[in-house]
């Protein structure tokens, strides 16, 4: 393993102090590609471009992680749900918070002393337009600037040295339900952002803005005419075949696609060799499938796009005509793996729909699609026969399909629930164990769709749901290790609540994650054996990171319960089918933790 050299740190420091030295597109790309491979730093919200969430640091390892101690803590002063993770560049850590989207620069040489603070003034009327709490998933960095996508859809570039606004552009209109929650990603000279608003009928897009001045370079919609999608009907493929003209329009009735969702609130990954970016699209609007006949393309899909032009190379829709709110936005993890005796450039994706997908990321070929929670029952699996008409489509079980049961009918016992077998909380991959570490939800639901009317800027949902753990079980989450070449669970640790924290794998053989009760946990990457836990001040829905400063390795995580987890689980779940007396039988998160945003930083004691 390469040790972090002083020269690399110096490069980061130089970059910070002279942002204009590397002013060209090529240099920026080169810098970030180089910087993200240095595990001492965390220069992007996904840690690395491949989204593996793997650190080469190994000073904290299976032998000593049990001795981990809190080094210092920091309160963000914000109470709502804290998703994402800080960035670390040289001597400075950049911490973000939910609405009002405060950003702090902290001095790592002085236990997190505040170097500067940015607090935007945003119209609080954006708060109720945000589905599921006022979360923000973090910052991006490039060229001496930090990029923040605020709740009100202002994309702001801050001077990393001073916190002063360098430029600001408005990417959307909160009056129509468009909001910002996701973390941007910088690729070469462009900063990529998506939009939230699937519960408000917002048509999703990904937009590339110039790192230098915020000028829009391209915008690619999830739905609509080919010119909006940035696709080539002949060259853009799904499962190896051209998608053809009007692929999206043909899959909708009338103008429903204009308010059809497919929002882009997840993570990005980037393959510099293929020059492709990858991301997923969210649920089609409304949640009432009867109001939108057709496959509703390209909601619920994985896009591979040219990083320069935005043109789609390939696309794959995982859940055609969604009937469950199984957004396809979860992260795409890029890893080269041996499948069938040859090395394949794979993309691994743990979808909300409960299937773990392995694709060839160069071609979009589907290699594996298997359930990563045995409870999943809405599908019997994906048709893997290349000659079949239904190739690549999930086989839907009618009795668990609300759209087939009809409006005003309560479809019972569907697994997983709308929050998915996994939500946005990213998984990790260790190239050493060749395993994926996946934080999961283990929750089922009843789902009843009904008619709704669209008003711009108002919720556009159209379904009622009740959630509860799978029959006969009380654990609402699992933390699992997954073999993506075979589509098999290797080990699984039950957790009382959904695991809503991003995982981290390390060269020390330790995997970290947080729990909704507030525990930071360290487990053995090979066996899942718990090696350490510490209860932080609030429930964890943030992502664990590690970094090195002045020769010491640190582990850090934001706690601050909230998000969807804080809504669904606060008062506890009930099983409507368990009969009298069982109601209220499951744990309520309110009994374990309360609000409050805190960063907790861990390290080993000095010997």
């Amino acid at each position: 393993m390469p040790r972090v050299s002083a020269a690399t740190l110096l490069t980061a420091a130089t970059l910070l102090s002279s942002p204009f030295v590397f002013g060209t597109a090529y240099a920026q790309n080169g810098d970030l590609v180089q910087m993200q491979s240095n595990s001492a730093n965390v220069v992007m919200p996904t840690i690395t471009y491949d989204n593996q969430r793997y650190s080469k640091l190994n000073k904290i390892n299976t032998h000593n992680v049990g001795k981990l101690q809190v080094a210092w803590t920091f309160s963000t002063g914000v109470l709502r749900g804290h998703e994402g993770a800080p960035l670390v560049i040289g001597d400075v850590m950049y911490v973000h918070a939910p609405f009002p989207n405060t950003v702090f620069a902290l001095d790592l040489s002085h236990d997190g002393k505040i170097l500067w603070k940015y607090e935007p003034k945003q119209d609080p009327n954006v708060i109720p337009v945000m589905c599921c709490d006022t979360v923000n998933r973090g910052l991006a960095y490039a060229d001496g600037k930090l990029f923040l996508h605020q709740a009100d859809t202002a994309l702001v570039a801050l001077d990393a040295k001073t916190g002063k606004v360098v430029w600001s552009v408005k990417t959307g209109d909160p009056g129509k339900g468009e909001t910002g929650t996701s973390a941007p990603m910088v690729v070469k000279d462009k900063v990529l952002v998506g939009v939230s608003g699937g519960e408000f009928g917002v048509r999703g897009w990904v937009t590339a803005y110039s790192v230098n001045d915020g000028k829009q370079i391209w915008r690619a919609y999830s739905e609509g005419p080919d010119s909006d999608l940035l696709v080539d009907p002949q060259k853009t493929t799904e499962l190896g075949k051209p998608i053809g003209a009007d692929s999206s329009l043909k899959s909708w009735q009338g103008d429903q696609w204009k308010i059809g969702g497919g929002d882009t609130w997840g993570w990005y990954s980037y393959d510099p060799k293929l020059n492709l970016i990858y991301y997923g699209t969210g649920n089609p609007s409304t949640w009432n499938p009867k109001q939108r006949p057709g496959d509703n393309k390209w909601s619920m899909a994985i896009f591979a796009r040219d990083a320069d032009t935005g043109m789609a190379k390939w696309v794959y829709q995982m859940t055609p005509h969604d009937q469950w709110d199984y957004d396809g936005v979860n992260e795409m993890i890029l890893a080269d793996q041996e499948i069938g005796g040859r090395m394949v450039p794979t993309l691994v994706h743990f979808d909300r729909n409960g299937l773990g997908y392995t694709l060839n990321r160069a071609t979009g070929e589907l290699l594996v699609a298997q359930k990563y929670d045995p409870a999943v029952n809405w599908t019997t699996g994906v048709d893997m026969n290349k000659n079949s008409q239904n190739y690549g489509r999930p086989s839907v079980v009618a009795k668990y399909a609300p759209g087939e049961q009809g409006e005003d009918v309560n479809t019972q016992g569907i697994c997983p629930a709308a929050l998915g077998t996994k939500d946005e909380q990213p998984a990790a991959y260790s190239p050493e164990t060749k395993l994926f570490y996946v934080p999961t939800n283990h929750v089922c639901m009843d789902y009843e769709p009904f008619r709704v009317s669209y008003t711009a800027g108002q919720p556009y949902v159209g379904a009622t749901l009740s959630m509860y753990p799978p029959s006969g079980q009380t654990n609402m989450g699992n933390f699992i290790a997954w073999d993506a070449t075979k589509g098999k669970i290797v080990w699984s640790n039950p957790e009382q609540f959904s695991v809503w924290s991003g995982a981290l794998a390390t060269a020390g053989g330790v995997v970290f994650y947080g729990t909704l009760e507030g525990y930071l946990k360290a487990v053995d990457a090979k066996t899942g054996k718990e090696l350490y836990k510490f209860k932080t001040p609030s429930g964890i829905i943030g992502n664990v990171i590690t970094y090195e400063h002045r020769g010491k390795q640190y582990v850090a995580v934001l706690s601050g319960v909230g998000g969807w987890a804080g809504i669904g689980l606060a008062a506890g779940l009930t099983d409507p089918h368990a009969g009298l007396g069982a109601v209220g039988g499951y744990a309520a998160l309110n009994n374990y933790t309360a609000l409050g945003g805190t960063l907790t930083v861990f390290t080993l004691p000095s010997s």
Partner: protein
């Protein structure tokens, strides 16, 4: 499409009503005394629930559960029990009168301070809420009074003819 104008004048800020301290229902005795084609009201004419001895709920309580879960759950949590940041409405309803409730739903409410930003949107133009506001009120009143438990009401009265007509007219 017919333009629906709801009582915007009702958009007054509601301060937690202190008057109903002893009562468990912000609108007083919830006993159902009169039915207008399946929609019940109490002695003061305020919409209310009607639960039969075998647990069958009136149609509006059932619709209220559905629409609450679709329109309000995303902040106020399942079954009116609150989330990490928005209040449990089954508790709030012990203080709020029907008029209070209507005003907050239609006009919104803000409590923005240095420590918290609580913002309830104005739903006055939102047909998915306003066409069902009585049903949502009735459902939450039943939750506040302990007349129904958590989850979907299992048994419900048949859909009244007047309901379909009113729904079609309102939703357009």
């Amino acid at each position: 499409m017919k333009k629906i104008v709801f009582a915007a004048a009702a958009a007054v800020m509601i301060i937690a009503s202190a008057g109903a301290s002893a009562a468990t229902d912000g609108s007083g005795d919830p006993t159902a005394v009169k039915s207008d084609d399946g929609k019940w009201s109490d002695k003061d004419g305020t919409p209310t629930f009607k639960i039969e001895p075998d647990g069958t709920v009136d149609w509006y309580t059932y619709v209220g559960f559905n629409r609450y879960s679709s329109e309000c759950l995303r902040c106020h949590g399942p079954d009116g029990m609150g989330s990490t940041y928005a209040p449990a409405l089954m508790e709030s309803m012990k203080r709020l009168s029907y008029t209070d409730f209507y005003a907050v739903v239609a006009g919104g409410k803000q409590n923005v301070s240095a420590s918290q930003e609580l913002v309830m949107p104005a739903n006055g133009e939102n047909k998915n809420v306003m066409c069902y506001i009585d049903a949502i009120y009735i459902y939450l009143r039943a939750r506040a009074d302990g007349a129904i438990g958590r989850g979907r009401p299992e048994k419900r009265a048949a859909k009244p003819g007047a309901y379909t007509k009113a729904e079609d007219e309102c939703m357009g």
